[in-house]
């Protein structure tokens, strides 16, 4: 197990290094001079020169990359050009919102997908199965931000049950924070639920057709016990992989959903950085969000290596 984890961490580090290189390189080709962008077109050449030196722009890019990478490793992600504050503290401020959104969305997805996927497989080829398949097909095709808008329309504007957007910190009022996150997390979670339901259904069907399941039924075990103790455990492995992939999707989806619900999370910070061409902030955010996704994928990997010994010893 330890060998497996070490191997995975090494490959994760290689990927993150490549990601950092790509992120840095991509944002070097942006047309325009950042110093000019900050000071405006009327700045004197001397001011431009000294700012360039301060930002390190007078050095060649490989040096700047190394400098940036070294900073990243110490947790120093540079300083936002527009907001004039450390990128790391901006991220730390916004992270709880995005994190709560993603975690809640994943919970909602699991709460829906588990019963739906299992029922659908157990009642294979029944009207219920067809209904669940149809619903998941719909869920995959609906853009999450449209679900968000429809939810606002129904629950905020007509029924007046939940707020239309904005956020109140967990520390200030946990109940209000939950109320503000419910609709955005549902919009994101429904799409993930649709993917997970389909995966759970097909992997359950696969497992249920195996000989050991027939054996368990033949020796007289209750259907309930066979489904939950024998089948589900084995059916979970591909589902866990997909759930890992979906973390990246939730992270990306939250960028748009935060915009719909005016949530002050990482996604909105990123968009404002893009609109104002705040390169250090974009770099820091892209790197940070990707690292989060890659790291949580690693956790999922380790989790299912733990669930399934076959993977550990491959």
């Amino acid at each position: 197990m330890l060998k497996f984890i070490v191997r995975r961490i090494i490959s994760l580090l290689i990927i993150l290094w490549l990601v950092s290189f790509l992120t840095f390189l991509l944002l070097q080709v942006i047309p325009g001079d950042p110093a000019q962008l900050i000071l405006g077109i009327e700045a004197s050449p001397e001011a431009l020169g000294s700012l360039r030196a301060r930002l390190g722009l007078d050095k060649p890019w490989p040096l700047r990359y190394l400098h940036w990478l070294a900073g990243m490793m110490r947790g120093d992600m540079g300083i936002s050009i527009r907001l004039e504050r450390p990128v790391s503290s901006l991220i730390a401020e916004r992270l709880p919102v995005t994190l709560s959104l993603a975690v809640m969305a994943m919970l909602i997805a699991l709460i829906i997908a588990f019963p739906a996927g299992i029922l659908s497989a157990v009642k294979w080829n029944s009207p219920l199965d067809y209904f669940i398949l149809f619903a998941s097909q719909v869920g995959i095709a609906i853009p999450s931000f449209w679900i968000g808008i429809l939810l606002i329309l129904t629950f905020s504007l007509y029924l007046r049950l939940l707020p239309t957007g904005g956020f109140i910190g967990w520390g200030k009022n946990p109940l209000e924070a939950l109320r503000h996150l419910l609709l955005p997390a549902t919009s994101l979670g429904l799409v993930t639920a649709a993917f997970l339901t389909r995966m759970l259904r097909s992997s359950m069907l696969e497992v249920l057709s195996q000989a050991y399941i027939t054996m368990a039924r033949a020796k007289g075990l209750a259907k309930f016990q066979v489904i939950f103790r024998h089948a589900l455990k084995n059916a979970l492995i591909p589902v866990a992989t997909l759930a890992g992939v979906q973390i990246g999707f939730l992270m990306g989806g939250s960028i748009v959903i935060e915009q719909v619900f005016a949530l002050p999370g990482l996604g909105r910070l990123l968009l404002s950085a893009v609109y104002t061409r705040d390169i250090p902030l974009i770099q820091g955010l892209v790197m940070f969000m990707t690292t989060m996704v890659v790291a949580s994928n690693l956790l999922v990997d380790i989790l299912y290596a733990y669930l399934d010994p076959r993977i550990r010893f491959e």
Binding site: T23, L27, V138, I142, W146, L150, Q259, L270, I282
Partner: protein, 268 residues
């Protein structure tokens, strides 16, 4: 078969709809009629009008051109970049394979919309740049597919026979690998088109794709969000259009996959 037909019908409707926006004598999708602003669906404006009094039906039909364009352009770019890389990696192998695949890993480690946003941030917002960004983001998917197909075909008897007869690598690629991988590529193209429509809508929603006053479904939803309490119809129809198009491509992809792989037929 059922999904294939269903997908073809849905996409047929979308294609006819966006074509009709250029042919039929509908109101100009950009023409503002201030006296008609925010009017609900009626015989005159079947889908209602927006905050500038523009006819929503015309705008949605015209928006179809953007969505279909996004799917064609980005799938085109993704396959033109991805497939040659994938074939090269799979057929040549060795260090080339190792390096390109690690690069693909890194590209796929980014959440796809995040990478697309970054690329648009570099190239500047706009419909074409958004489509190019989506295409670049989807390239690794095609590369991986082409590589795995090439790897599995490489060891097959007919390829070995061709090799033994002295066929060049290019000839094997052209006459043996490519024709046999087309069906897989077609399925992936269909799935890629559906994600492209969704991605274009997302990018336009956050203001990085199609720019006003031009109509795009994502952009229209963003405008609808501002007038949700007075003009809910603005939010209904564009979302439905995205949904139908994506559903159409998904059904088409499912149908094509079932067609190639009879064993999967009827298993959903």
């Amino acid at each position: 078969m059922r999904s294939l037909v269903l997908g073809a019908i849905l996409l047929g409707v979308v294609i006819l709809g966006s074509a009709s926006s250029w042919i039929l004598p509908l109101p100009d999708p950009l023409a503002m009629e201030v006296t008609e602003r925010l009017s609900p669906p009626s015989w005159r404006h079947l889908f209602g009008t927006d905050q500038y009094g523009r006819d929503l039906l015309s705008r949605i039909l015209r928006g179809g051109t953007v969505a279909l364009g996004a799917s064609v352009v980005s799938v085109g770019i993704a396959s033109l970049i991805g497939i040659p890389i994938g074939f090269a990696a799979g057929l040549i192998g060795g260090i080339l394979d190792e390096v390109t695949m690690r690069l693909m890993d890194a590209l796929q480690a980014f959440p796809s919309i995040l990478l697309a946003i970054t690329i648009v941030a570099i190239m500047g917002p706009g419909p074409l740049n958004a489509m190019v960004a989506i295409g670049l983001v989807n390239g690794p998917v095609f590369a991986r597919l082409a590589r795995s197909v090439a790897l599995s075909l490489k060891g097959r008897d007919f390829v070995l026979a061709a090799e033994a007869l002295g066929a060049s690598r290019l000839r094997i690629l052209r006459y043996h690998i490519l024709p046999n991988s087309l069906s897989y590529i077609l399925v992936q193209a269909s799935i890629g088109a559906s994600t492209a429509v969704l991605a274009e809508a997302s990018l336009s929603y956050i203001g990085l794709g199609t720019q006003p006053p031009n109509p795009s479904w994502g952009r229209m939803l963003e405008e609808a969000r501002l007038f949700l309490d007075v003009a809910p119809w603005m939010a209904i129809f564009p979302g439905f259009a995205i949904f139908l198009t994506v559903l159409g491509f998904n059904f088409l992809g499912d149908g094509l996959r079932d067609l190639m792989d009879p064993w999967r037929r009827g298993r959903g």
